[in-house]
């Protein structure tokens, strides 16, 4: 099953299969990694968009969710993405974005996923 892991509520009712994680972008990556450990495959790069971890509050990753042996290319990519977030930890500024700014970050996160969601026919 193709499923979107995200902490961005903009995807609610716009994607067929959604796992909404009401936590940080980093937590999304950890949940994705846990799913990869169980056999899921990454369909999109976990670091899409050229926003730094300390700036972009949202993270969305498309997976083919399944059980089985570990897909090592997926595992490698997600571990590298998590490493980027960890190394950025010391850079992270406290971001108290205004609502309009938050909405823009959510919007761009959606736009960066759009082509992939269309490709896998999961956009409603």
């Amino acid at each position: 099953m193709v499923i979107l892991f995200t902490n961005n509520r903009i995807f609610l009712n716009r994607v067929k299969n959604l796992k909404l994680i009401n936590l940080s972008a980093y937590d999304v990556l950890i949940d994705v990694r846990n799913s990869i450990h169980l056999g899921s495959h990454l369909l999109t790069h976990p670091l899409c968009g050229n926003l730094k971890p300390s700036q972009q509050p949202f993270r969305s990753v498309l997976l083919e969710e399944k059980k089985g042996s570990v897909d090592f290319p997926s595992l490698s990519l997600i571990e590298e993405a998590i490493a980027v977030y960890r190394s950025a930890g010391s850079l992270a500024a406290t971001q108290n974005y205004e609502k309009v700014t938050l909405n823009d970050y959510a919007f761009i996160d959606f736009e960066l996923m759009r082509a992939s969601l269309e490709h896998y026919r999961v956009l409603i």
């Binding site: 369909l43 968009g49 050229n50 490493a83 980027v84 190394s87 082509a115 992939s116």
Partner: protein, 426 residues
């Protein structure tokens, strides 16, 4: 293919009754240019045009794109094919260039992610566009609730239209200098290695897109492109995220990798061709494009490949795949990238790596912090400093100074090598 660039050296700007060029001064008819860009119903009524020349205490922000004014005076097609004009192939004939001038577009599209150009002071040292005479378009949408795709396109097209208009208006002026370029994929000086240029272009989505002959790069398979087509604007930028390492249209037109490879063509190596490829989000696209691009390189019998990246993070995966796939076929690679190594430079620079990537040129660390002193004039929207990439809450101080990472400065770590940062042998 032969292309002559007929260059007028612009050293200053002024507003006047007729748009033209004389004695190093580009005169701009403000109302005519305003009328031209105002034709687009997507743009609002309060558009403005400002002039900024090197050394002035002026800050331009947030910058969307920078474009060099060019206009074809002879030969097939017209500049910015597929965007402004027809879709005929370009790259041959004669093209007028207003060297030293640039159109800079500025506008608020989202509440972050656009760049800064300081025309003087410490920030000016980091952006090549502090040395150009800039015609600045300050744009707004006709409807504040407008679809952002529409407004992005309107800003992009306004810049291209203005650049073409300025150069076209000077088409009857005799050039100060003519620079000729010739290139043929068939040229092959015996004994020299066959080298190509793998030109990676952003294609992730809104604010992260690039166009080839007007086609969205995310929808193409890697393909061949003459280096001379690039000089006529075959590649146009639709991205400014983040500002330091996004290829402006200007940096495509003046691609320094291409310029230098052409200079060494037939002397140190045979510069066979450019291969353009994308940087999509979907992993299957990454695999397909890297396989396809390297297949083209192998079919052309390339022995070496210069690879330039655009952006960081997601495209690091494309860069690394391109690298090892080429190397494992015996094609030597040299990579040109920038770094996100933390403010102290101690963190890992790229999100991906491979042992084959053992020849790498860096354009600088985008996380370095710089304080930009206040300027006398700001063209654009100064309060955006707090929300642009590389800025943070409180970046804009009461006195107008801004503390940001280099990431926020347009072109500061250009991965096409169009940058003022560098090491020089003396």
């Amino acid at each position: 293919m032969r292309l002559e660039l007929h260059k007028l050296h612009v050293k200053s700007l002024q507003f006047g009754e007729r748009t033209n060029f004389s004695n190093g001064v580009l005169t701009v008819n403000k109302s005519e240019l305003l009328n031209l860009i105002s034709e687009d119903p997507l743009l609002g009524k309060n558009l403005s045009i400002e002039l900024a020349v090197p050394g002035e205490k002026v800050r331009i922000m947030p910058v969307k794109d920078v474009i060099e004014p060019r206009w074809k005076i002879e030969g097939n097609g017209q500049v910015f094919p597929g965007m402004l004009s027809g879709v005929e192939s370009v790259g041959s004939g004669k093209t007028l260039v207003l060297t030293g001038a640039a159109v800079v577009t500025s506008g608020k599209l989202v509440r972050f992610q656009e760049g800064i150009i300081d025309m003087s002071g410490p920030g000016a040292e980091y952006t090549p566009y502090s040395k150009t005479c800039n015609v600045v378009l300050i744009l707004e949408p006709s409807d504040p609730e407008m679809d952002k795709h529409d407004y992005e396109q309107a800003c992009r097209m306004a810049g291209l239209k203005a650049a073409a208009y300025l150069a076209k208006s000077c088409a009857d002026v005799k050039a100060d200098e003519v620079e000729a370029f010739e290139h043929s994929t068939m040229d092959n000086t015996p004994g020299l290695p066959r080298v190509g240029y793998l030109y990676m272009l952003q294609s992730q989505g809104l604010l992260h897109d690039t166009y080839l002959y007007g086609v969205d790069m995310k929808k193409i398979l890697p393909t061949l492109l003459s280096p001379l087509e690039v000089m006529d604007g075959a590649i146009t930028s639709g991205n400014c995220v983040s500002a330091c390492d996004k290829n402006s249209t200007y940096s495509h037109q003046n691609n320094q990798v291409i310029a230098n490879m052409l200079k060494r063509n037939g002397k140190d190596f045979n510069f066979v061709t450019c291969i353009v490829t994308n940087e999509n989000v979907t992993l299957a696209d990454k695999k397909r494009s890297s396989d396809y691009a390297i297949k083209l390189a192998a079919m052309l019998g390339l022995e070496g490949l210069v690879i330039t990246e655009e952006g960081f993070g997601n495209p690091d995966a494309d860069l690394i795949m391109n690298c090892w796939k080429a190397e494992r076929l015996g094609i030597k690679t040299t990579l040109l990238t920038d770094e996100y190594a933390g403010r102290d430079g101690a963190s890992q620079s790229l999100a991906d790596s491979c042992p084959e990537g053992n020849a790498c040129v860096t354009a600088g660390n985008a996380n370095e912090v710089i304080t930009l002193p206040p300027m006398e004039k700001v063209f654009g929207f100064a309060n955006e400093a707090n929300v642009i990439a590389g800025g943070w809450d409180g970046s804009l101080a009461g006195d107008g100074s801004i503390t940001v990472e280099l990431q926020a400065i347009t072109g500061a770590t250009s991965e096409l090598g169009y940058t003022k940062l560098g090491a020089y042998t003396v």
